[in-house]
């Protein structure tokens, strides 16, 4: 008997096109964050189970008083995973630019998941700062993947500013509230030429599936996996959900009707 885990990735790659961002191609449309896991071992197992190729990391000071503390590169092989550094925690364009330059100097790539946060309570983006930082970083050769809200106009401006991908939220970071506005996400995907990758807010597999059914190019998640009771099992569920949602989008769903239509023949009934 074939396990479903053996079927899903093959059937996905058989009919889907690669996720293309900038000049890179990826098979997996699921991007995974590396924060908040109970241990590095669980994190690595969850990433393996998710099938993700792109993993996000944050830039922070080395704790000099505990200099033997291992950075994340002791656990993640940069040859196997595409490291996407973020600017999480930055509240101004200048800070985000500074963190981006530090991340690039690590020497792996020139990509940055750009966050310019405008509010501590909701972690919603400061779109002015985001646009300013996107322009500067794009001019410096960065591939900017811009975390933003679900506003079409901001998304269009980010594309004009040179973003390599636009990453609207499903709902606030770490909230697990799922996709709050499918219409906005669909509209953004419909109007933009660069990839649209939903970032933040997914809570469980059905959220991921519904999000992918909107036609977006991918999903980035962290807490939904890391904060699950069994992160490795949830990572596997997310892999299947992203794949199923993508397949359903490509298949094209049936039209919604307000009336019932029988599936079985109405003729030939017994007299």
């Amino acid at each position: 008997m074939t396990a479903i885990s053996d079927i899903a990735p093959r059937s996905a790659s058989a009919t889907d096109t690669p996720l293309v961002v900038g000049d890179r191609e990826f098979t997996s449309r699921l991007l995974i964050g590396t924060g908040k896991y109970s241990s590095n071992e669980v994190m690595v197992q969850a990433i393996e189970a998710s099938g993700a190729e792109i993993v996000t990391v944050a830039v922070r000071r080395v704790d000099l008083d505990r200099a033997h503390e291992e950075g994340i590169l002791h656990h993640l092989d940069p040859e196997r995973f595409f490291l996407l550094a973020n600017t999480a925690g930055c509240y101004t364009a200048d800070d985000a630019i500074r963190y981006s330059r530090l991340a690039r100097a690590a020497g792996f790539n020139e990509w940055i998941k750009l966050e310019v946060i405008g509010d501590k309570e909701t972690l919603l983006p400061d779109t002015d700062g985001l646009l300013a930082a996107t322009r500067t970083l794009a001019a410096e050769g960065f591939k900017v993947m811009a975390y933003t809200n679900d506003d079409l106009i901001t998304a269009l401006r980010l594309e004009d500013a040179g973003a390599a991908a636009v990453m609207p939220l499903a709902s606030p970071i770490g909230s697990g509230l799922g996709l709050l506005n499918p219409y906005s996400i669909r509209t953004i995907k419909h109007r933009l030429s660069v990839p649209v990758i939903v970032d933040a807010g997914v809570g469980t597999a059905s959220d991921a599936c519904i999000t992918m059914e909107q036609g977006v190019d991918g999903i980035l998640m962290n807490t939904a996996v890391a904060a699950a009771t069994d992160p490795v099992a949830m990572a596997h569920a997310m892999r299947l959900a992203v794949s199923a949602g993508r397949q359903a989008f490509l298949a094209g769903r049936m039209p919604r009707r307000e009336v019932a239509v029988p599936s079985s023949p109405t003729s030939g009934m017994l007299g």
Partner: protein, 90 residues
Amino acid sequence: MPNAPRSTMFRRMTHTTVPDGGAIAPVVNGERRSVAVGSTLGDLLRSLELDPRTVVIEHNGVVLRDRDAYDSLTLSANDNVEIVHFVGGG
């Protein structure tokens, strides 16, 4: 970006170590740290037992993109050094 505002995460500045005669105390990750006069960035990393390949250094607001330059950059008393690395994040 020497004139950029300092982020809150880089702002903590304390003075825990007082330099003596043959030493200076540049600010490293927000705290003054005593090093011998003439020490290079490479010396600092070795004293901290940090592998240069696993960290990135910002020296007085300038991100250093060439790790080979660490051993030729001599530290000054008023230098501000930030040593960062990748950690888990979403």
